[in-house]
Subunit: 444 residues, 2 copies
Amino acid sequence: MTKTAPVMINGFDPAKLASLPERERRLIERRQALLGPSYRLFYEEPVHPVRGEGVWLYDAEDNAYLDVYNNVPSVGHCHPHVAQAVAKQALVLNTHTRYLDENILNYAERLLATFPEEITRVMFTCTGSEAVDLALRVARHYTGGTGIIITENAYHGVTAAAVEISPSLGPNVPLGQHVFTVPAPDPANANGRDVGEVLAEEVEKAIAFMMRHGIRPAAFIADSIFSTDGIFPDPAGFLQKTVDVMHAHGALYIADEVQPGFGRTGTHMWGFERHGIVPDIAVMGKPMGNGIPIAAAVMKAEVQDRFGRDIRYFNTFGANHVSIAAASAVLDVIRDEKLMENAAATGHHMLEGMKRLQQQFACVGEARGAGLFLGLEFVKNRESREPDGALALAVVNGLRRKRILISASSPYGHVLKIRPPLPFKREHADIFLESLAAVLTELA
Amino acid sequence: MTKTAPVMINGFDPAKLASLPERERRLIERRQALLGPSYRLFYEEPVHPVRGEGVWLYDAEDNAYLDVYNNVPSVGHCHPHVAQAVAKQALVLNTHTRYLDENILNYAERLLATFPEEITRVMFTCTGSEAVDLALRVARHYTGGTGIIITENAYHGVTAAAVEISPSLGPNVPLGQHVFTVPAPDPANANGRDVGEVLAEEVEKAIAFMMRHGIRPAAFIADSIFSTDGIFPDPAGFLQKTVDVMHAHGALYIADEVQPGFGRTGTHMWGFERHGIVPDIAVMGKPMGNGIPIAAAVMKAEVQDRFGRDIRYFNTFGANHVSIAAASAVLDVIRDEKLMENAAATGHHMLEGMKRLQQQFACVGEARGAGLFLGLEFVKNRESREPDGALALAVVNGLRRKRILISASSPYGHVLKIRPPLPFKREHADIFLESLAAVLTELA
């Protein structure tokens, strides 16, 4: 397998500024002046939504954009049940965890009930990054180790500790000195072997390397769908051996559920469940409050006890009443609107359609996914599987011109990252598939 | 000056569980089971509010508690203007910064207009901890240094990088290896010298120490009111020399405005303005959205440019539309209800009353503060200034029995930390002062 240089998928090219309409140009100039160069826009022609509803975003001219990408508004943009819960709570009470409160405990019970029985504790933060950051602190305190193992193009957040385990941020953001990478579990790279066995071997090698250098392992952390690595969900179960290796060395497995969690994979509430494993710590964020900031780390009691005996934790906005109200309403909607069942059904329909495109277009290397977390891989050549990030970028911008919002992932930017809001129906999948076929035909 | 052992002010003592009413006991047991030992409650008899309004919290029996402590609901608990802005926005649009949006830019302009003209950039996060964490990344990237200088009992947040500069979390949370402390600017410890000169000398010594050990300084970070050190606001201007020292060594001054910011000191929107200085970076959080999670780091353009050229930054919930709507409404209320003027006037009235208590009670060492950020120091002996943390704790719990919410700070827990919501009026100050006098009389 030959690989080409990475393609940046997020970067709006400022050289194209002059070609944009006056209003957008002015907004981009203000943005650059006020927010500065760290902030990146999606697409050659950035999108400017002013309203959202369900799986749709709308611009000022009321043009509708089909959202096939955003996993934060997981139960649908501006879902009225969540918005009303927020509106009601904001008028009643909004304080913190140093007073007694029943709402937070009721939600904690509901949330923990969705996890395997070994997971009995929850600590609340505001963002997935904070939850990852806290999970690292807890894992290092519990194990006494410092070494962390991640996949080669992982992304786990934006705090200083989280960027140290996020190689997808690129070479200007160095990994932590006690952070070690293993290749992502890509079956195409397993040379016909069991992908889980290969991963476990790589993890074993990383542990041997760190121990040879006097570093004790603390944890392996991964999202079970390997989102930024290129989306590798299959075969379900392949993570078991890696978890065994970590435990054999007294280290932990942290499930990063920020992306696969809250029912997205359709068959299970949590991504790790597809693998039949139980994490020591699981972190969650993005879809938890449907856009209202709330996140959490759940864990086994013995893991948290050791941390909690020594170290107090207070997160000012963590589990504030308004965020808890939003999170609780999200669980209502997932249940009442049968969004997991929908994710499974629509996801299946989508994957079938994507596989038809694979037959039709030689540039499609593979279609894969679980529920409404799917990847479509573009290659220059099916035999060599050489990634075609430039084509994926052209597809992303081509779909945007058709008002369909999507992005791409992998180290080469060559895999469409398909993770729409969960109320995404068969009819929406068909719009996406037809538009994708049209764009691929145009580009061919 | 002799000092006694620290007194933990936050710890609810589980041994007292049996003495509590059934309902509270049950809630505490559920809390311990679900959230675990890292979570601490305020007061011997924890408070259980179910409703908030203005400067008041109410329990299930509709007993009113005067809030003299919470700085997050800065414009008042559940302020209707903020709650309505949140309710309205949650139904319209709530996305992120990779699409174009006008609301965020309008707010960014409003916020930056409250800063000196050198500060032209803003980066949004969800919590003050994330803002501090980002400020450290930016400062280290800009200067190429790693050394950070803080005061001895500082608190700056809960991410891994923020706890490394938060000695107030206690001995179980080690400081970072490139983190160095200087004594807080306590005029009582200055031996008659200028407190700003003493602080600058200590900072100069810390820089010499780190450079002798091959560590280049990156930043001095402090909240200008030295909240967890025991509240040292005076004399205004004393920080100037320290800022000059940092700049002379190519390092930065980061103003932690999480506590003094957004008008609390009455005379100025930002705490550093009282000192007539301009920070290179300022971080803010708690009161920014009146409880809706939003925080930010603002900075000079040249500081951010160097970071932003190399490193992209995306915070999923940072500057989401709902949080921006809340933050914008907070600025409206500060302006429309003249809350800064109120903070100055009520703060002055409060400080006068506290000084009368100082005359009346020998245990009161000093009353000090700026606007509605005040401290009342308890001592065993006025000559030696020996801190009396046990008395402060008794006062905190005594006031709680009178349904007045307050806490204490300093390494010895001997300084009442007085920072109520900003709509706190003269009549509320009088309730607090009378109750405080009654508690002190009871305890005498």
